[in-house]
């Protein structure tokens, strides 16, 4: 590889504190510069590797920008039709109750075309994990308005900003699934700063562990960016997200297992 290095004296195997996990393939991610999808893939890969679940994890990739997710994490995969990942994951987990099963879906996939699959699988309490990447638009198809587009937010189909009088209100689907008895753990995170990546990784690790208990659906939303679709630089997009999206979609756990049913200690990164 072509590389630039800092001070060479410190570069020794015993000093290594961070390197790309071996569970990520060497394929170069096809995402635009600064896209949160890439960061979300990476922390998921790190967790699966660190928890020793490479042989047991089965992912369901969506339709959307992350459709090629199966090229990047070296585990078993299925590809679902648009919005149908939870239906496929239901079958996979019911047939293989010992496996770690998760879906990874964008907001168009999960909260528009797949709303029914999302809500009903959570309501049935299917024992898999849903990872929901909310970038407020349909990224792959050209930045159209999604159910999650916040009021006033511009998109290619709401060029003057989302007018709630005409276009309705954003759907806080994570808040909805948190009210369903079938969900076990529901959290909303982001990956736009180092602190948030570390927090998101902690929440996602808990969700992966919880889903193995088979006590209900685990659901982790990651509020994310789409620099290309929002027509901003990655740094501007992250700032815009923090100032505009996070007040609408506040971060933190929305539903945690009650003390009696939780058997997993709060783990450190």
């Amino acid at each position: 590889m072509t590389e630039v290095t800092g001070i060479k004296d410190y570069i020794k195997p015993e000093n290594l504190v961070y390197s790309k996990t071996r569970l990520m393939t060497d394929n170069i991610l096809h995402y635009c510069p600064g896209c949160g999808h890439s960061t979300a893939h990476r922390i998921l890969a790190e967790i699966i590797d660190e928890e020793g679940l490479q042989q047991d994890a089965i992912g369901v990739s969506p339709v959307g920008c992350s459709v090629f997710l199966y090229n990047y994490l070296d585990i078993d995969w299925q590809e679902a039709a648009h919005g149908r990942a939870p239906a496929l994951a239901t079958a996979i987990k019911r047939l293989n109750p010992g496996k770690v099963v998760f879906t990874y879906q964008g907001d168009g996939d999960l909260a528009a075309i797949g709303t029914s699959e999302t809500i009903h699988s959570c309501n049935r309490g299917e024992n898999f994990l849903i990872i929901f990447i909310n970038n407020g638009i349909y990224g792959m198809t050209g930045g159209q308005m999604a159910p999650t587009t916040i009021p006033g937010m511009k998109s290619s189909t709401s060029p003057y900003g989302r007018d709630t009088g005409q276009m309705g209100y954003p759907l806080k689907i994570t808040d909805i699934v948190a009210t369903l008895p079938g969900t076990y753990y529901v959290s909303r995170q982001s990956v736009h700063t180092a602190l948030n990546v570390r927090r998101a990784k902690r929440a996602l690790r808990k969700a992966v562990q919880y889903q193995s208990l088979n006590r209900g659906t685990c659901f982790v939303e990651i509020v994310s960016n789409c620099p290309a679709g929002w027509k901003m630089t990655p740094v501007e997009a992250n700032r815009w997200m923090e100032e505009n999206m996070l007040p609408y979609y506040p971060l933190g756990d929305l539903k945690v297992p009650s003390a009696e049913t939780s058997v997993i200690p709060d783990n450190k990164e």
Partner: protein, 74 residues
């Protein structure tokens, strides 16, 4: 008193020049190169390597997993 020192390695050809590592580095170690890589992106580089404390913020936040971090006490 022992000082914490760090060093980063940037895999130039994987970098997409998003600058997120640069704004996340608490010590101002990272700047963008004036040259582009094979894909045409201005890549990140440790322009002030002596400032690095090995906190790994840059690597943790880098979407593309471009940065490797080393840390030691001297």
């Amino acid at each position: 008193m022992a000082k914490i020192r760090g060093s980063i390695v940037v895999d130039i050809e994987r970098c997409k020049g998003c600058e997120i590592c640069m704004v996340s580095c608490p010590t101002g170690t990272i700047k963008m190169s004036g040259q582009v890589n094979g894909k045409g992106y201005f890549y990140a580089l440790p322009a002030n390597p002596e400032l690095c404390i090995g906190c790994a913020n840059c690597a943790v936040v880098c979407p593309d997993g471009v940065i490797t971090v080393y840390k030691t006490k001297i």
